[in-house]
């Protein structure tokens, strides 16, 4: 973005920059209100959270330089009436991988919650004029907004906001996690295991839960629709960008031409100026449109979160089914043992000389019965867990939809407003051009 725009309209760059920042600020303010739709008492009511700054750092020896970005999280307690106790202020630097770790822990601890997604690690759905570089300042800043959004969503979540680790992450200077940040290997193995499990559970489940299937289906639809939409948006944006930028050529031709003409010179000069403005205005528009696209993208990633939830539900269900089949096996064993009174069995026993004594049999049946009891308890606990999970998951999904509807509505409205603004700008520009041309003899 920067490189191309600064080439063409270097004088406009600063203006665009400040405008963009202003916009981001209003955007996040809007988000905060939106996130707080529920009536629950959540951390966000008691704590002001913002990521104020991003910084590039270099790690490792000179030969093996590793660049990464760190983000400064600033917190300020609004009041201290919060169970876990808040420090009045906090300011900590965290890097992206730490956010990942936090999210991973939350996911493990609260399987029944929809964990808000993190912004992407690498820019996707980028326009041609955007840099796909990980440490590109514009990208880093957009990720900063995304990470802040993640924290706000977590802090506004009725379950997640009570987490101790979260609080430490937000406020304490070190040792915020039970897991070692640097023990990446362990984390990834665990994650991989988890993924593997969730993939295979879907195949092994006997009786998939209808509601969860629906969620699964919904999330994949959401992902495909948003994916298509974002892909199309990028194409449209690229085209529109090119169209506007091509008008700068008209600007150049007009102003060169104006030098040739005596009577037409002034009007052409003006018209050329408006063409230049027309070309320059697209930069700011695209920056704003990118923000809307980021908002849509968040929901694209929410699709993953939904799928995570449904996978975890499937695992819980698998536990129940496993326990049930174990119980069934024990019961079958029991019925077989009892059935040994039969004539044929006796005959078989006599003939082979392995007749069991009644005592042996009694003992065997007792063990089986004990096993059955245990299995029944197992089934019971698994079932209650599952039903609790389901109940909470339903709440979660309900809550998700509510937020999603409000947020997406706002994003869509923003998109429409942006299109209106652009149309107005185009209309204005061409009207000016026409006026300028009317001055011609």
């Amino acid at each position: 973005m920067q490189s191309s725009s600064s080439n063409i309209v270097s004088n406009n760059w600063e203006e665009v920059d400040s405008k963009e920042i202003k916009n981001l600020v209003t955007e996040t303010n809007g988000k905060k209100e939106n996130i707080l739709i529920g009536k629950e008492d959540v951390l966000l009511h008691h704590l002001d959270i913002s990521i104020v700054e991003a910084e590039k750092r270099i790690n490792g020896p000179l030969t093996l330089k590793e660049y990464y970005s760190v983000y400064l999280i600033e917190t300020k307690a609004i009041d201290k009436n919060w169970r876990e106790g808040l420090s009045p202020t906090g300011s900590v630097w965290r890097r992206y991988s730490e956010f990942e770790l936090l999210r991973f822990q939350l996911e493990n601890k609260y399987p029944e919650a929809i964990i808000p997604p993190l912004p992407e690690k690498k820019a996707s759905f980028t326009r041609q004029s955007q840099s796909s570089d990980n440490i590109d300042p514009v990208f880093v800043d957009r990720r900063r907004v995304g990470l802040e959004n993640f924290l706000l969503r977590v802090a506004a979540h009725p379950i997640l906001c009570h987490d101790q680790v979260l609080l430490k992450f937000l406020q304490s200077d070190r040792e915020w996690s039970d897991l070692d940040v640097n023990a990446d290997g362990g984390k990834y193995v665990q994650q991989a295991e988890f993924k593997l499990k969730s993939i295979s559970t879907a195949l092994r489940l006997k009786k998939p839960d209808d509601h969860m299937e629906e969620i699964r289906h919904y999330s994949s639809e959401l992902q495909s629709s948003l994916g298509n939409l974002l892909r199309l948006r990028v194409r449209l944006a690229d085209r529109l960008f090119a169209i506007h930028k091509l008008h700068a050529n008209y600007g150049r031709v007009f102003s060169e031409w104006s030098a040739l003409e005596k009577t037409m010179g002034d009007g052409l000069q003006k018209a050329g100026h408006y063409m230049d403005c027309y070309a320059a205005a697209i930069d700011a528009h695209m920056e704003e449109e990118d923000i809307v696209a980021d908002q849509l993208k968040e929901y694209l990633f929410f699709g993953n979160a939904l799928q995570g939830l449904s996978s975890r539900h499937q695992m819980a269900q698998l536990e129940v089914e496993k326990a049930e089949s174990h119980l069934n096996l024990q019961q079958y064993n029991k019925s077989r043992s009892l059935g040994q009174d039969g004539y044929l069995t006796k005959l078989w026993g006599k003939w082979t000389g392995t007749t069991e004594t009644p005592d042996d049999r009694q003992a065997k049946i007792e063990t089986i019965e004990r096993n059955i009891d245990e299995a029944q308890v197992l089934v019971q606990t698994a079932s209650t867990q599952l039903s609790q999970f389901s109940k909470q998951a339903v709440n979660e999904v309900e809550r998700f939809h509510q937020h999603k509807n409000a947020n997406l509505q706002e994003s869509l409205a923003n998109y429409v407003i942006l299109q209106m603004k652009l149309s107005k700008m185009g209309l204005q520009t061409w009207k000016h051009v026409k006026e300028a041309l009317e001055d011609l003899p």
């Binding site: 639809e221 031709v253 107005k424 051009v433 011609l440």
Partner: protein, 439 residues
């Protein structure tokens, strides 16, 4: 495009049994809803004393060739014309002939350009409806530019073109058959002269030709920009049409957002339509007129070149005259042996005789040369005057025309943006209302 040509082909079959006049003519005009494109009318408010209207193209199929003819209607109040109204049919080659004749007769006037011959590169059907329409419009403009021209409009050949019956016109054309040869000769002469650079090229024409060169470069650049934008815009509007299907698919899973999504999809379609209109109008109202001007600048360049040639002609004659004069004075002041060349050739004659003879030769040469100089100077001055006047006139027409083209461009964009703005403004409350209902 395809729809139009299909229509054309369809009618082509339908009307074969209804051919008019002869069995080789098919009426392209009888296409329904061809309306204002194929059949034109004179503008009632037009007060010019000579008006020409070109319309109703027809396809002629003969065993030897297939061609299109156009109806040329003339309405005039000039006394040179016997009647007030004339209707004739002419084909492209007739136009070509007319223009060639005019540019031969008036080398230093800016003769309006004809649309270019159909190029093989474009690979479009010569009988394609769009091609014919666009060519017809350009030919119409060509004739009216001639009609508006103070000198060209009074030309006999133009008059014959407008009023002669086919037989009259073809005999009239034949009477100029020799002209072609002459034209070629003068061309070779011109080529010879082109290696010669005029010395006394006046600043005035120097400036003119510089201006025309630069203007034609600007116009060509504008054409190129227009083409690129056109290409991008076409792709953009195609993508824009994809928005609705995607939103529709999504809408099925978002009961609470469906109305808003639908509104956005509809707005996108409206915008695509608005863009489509802009794209469709681009060619007939922007790129074709602009290209005509690109050709017009070429015509201006030609006339400037012809003027230069007239000047060169004069200068060459003048130089020769000077050389003869110089020799004369030299012979008078320094006689005899200073002329070794003469010596060698006229060994047996006495030097005095040779000198006498030479003086005589020079005398007659000088007088004919002086006459030639006179003639070529007249020609040059005539050319200067003609071109000066015509260039002035052309400049005015050009400013007006280019202004119109640019304003048309602005108007088209304004229309497009008004429609887009409307569409989005309509969608906004629908998208927003829902969010209020939600909260």
């Amino acid at each position: 495009m395809s729809a139009g040509s299909d229509n054309l082909e369809g009618d082509y079959v339908d009307h074969t049994d209804r051919m008019r006049n002869s069995n080789t003519i098919e009426a392209l005009t009888e296409i329904e809803n061809a309306g204002d494109l194929m059949k034109g009318t004179f503008n009632q408010n037009d007060l010019r004393d000579l008006q020409v209207l070109l319309d109703q193209p027809q396809k002629h199929v003969t065993p030897f060739e297939t061609y299109i003819s156009y109806q040329v209607s003339t309405k005039t109040s000039r006394i040179e014309f016997e009647k007030q109204n004339y209707v004739v049919r002419r084909r492209y080659s007739d136009f070509e002939w007319l223009r060639n004749q005019l540019s031969l007769c008036y080398p230093t006037l800016i003769v309006p350009p004809l649309p270019e011959k159909h190029s093989l590169f474009e690979q479009i059907d010569r009988y394609d409806r769009d091609f014919i329409t666009s060519r017809m419009q350009l030919l119409h403009r060509f004739l009216n530019r001639l009609a508006d021209h103070p000198v060209l409009s009074c030309d006999k050949k133009f008059e014959a073109f407008l009023i002669d019956t086919p037989v009259e016109f073809s005999t009239f054309k034949k009477s100029f058959a020799g002209f072609g040869l002459f034209g070629k000769m003068s061309e070779s002469l011109q080529n010879m002269a082109s290696s010669y650079v005029a010395k006394g090229r006046t600043v005035e024409f120097e400036k003119m030709s510089e201006y025309v060169d630069k203007l034609s470069e600007k116009i060509r650049t504008m054409e190129k920009i227009g083409q690129r934008i056109q290409k991008e815009r076409t792709a953009y509007l195609q993508d824009l049409q994809m928005v609705q299907p995607i939103l529709n698919q999504w809408q099925a899973y978002e009961p609470n957002l469906s109305q808003g999504l639908q509104a956005i999809g509809e707005a996108a379609i409206t915008c695509a339509e608005a863009q489509r209109k802009l794209v469709d109008c681009q060619k007939p109202s922007l790129s074709v007129p602009l290209h005509e001007y690109s050709l017009y600048t070429e015509a201006a360049k030609d006339s400037l070149r012809n003027r230069d040639n007239a000047q060169i002609d004069y200068e060459v004659n003048m130089e020769q005259l000077c050389r003869v004069k110089a020799e004369q004075t030299q012979l008078e002041t320094a006689p005899l042996s200073d002329h070794p060349v003469m010596f060698g050739m006229n060994m047996w004659k006495s030097p005095e005789q040779v000198q006498q003879q030479r003086m005589q030769q020079l005398e007659t040469g000088a007088s004919t040369l002086a006459m030639q100089v006179e003639v070529s100077r007249d020609k040059m001055e005539c050319a200067n005057e003609n071109l000066r006047a015509d260039f002035e006139r052309w400049n005015q027409v050009k400013s007006r025309d280019l202004k119109n083209i640019l304003q048309e461009m602005a108007d088209l964009h304004i229309k497009m943006y008004e429609q887009s703005l409307n569409a989005w403004s309509k969608a906004l409350p629908i998208v927003k209302n829902e969010s209020q209902a939600q909260i």
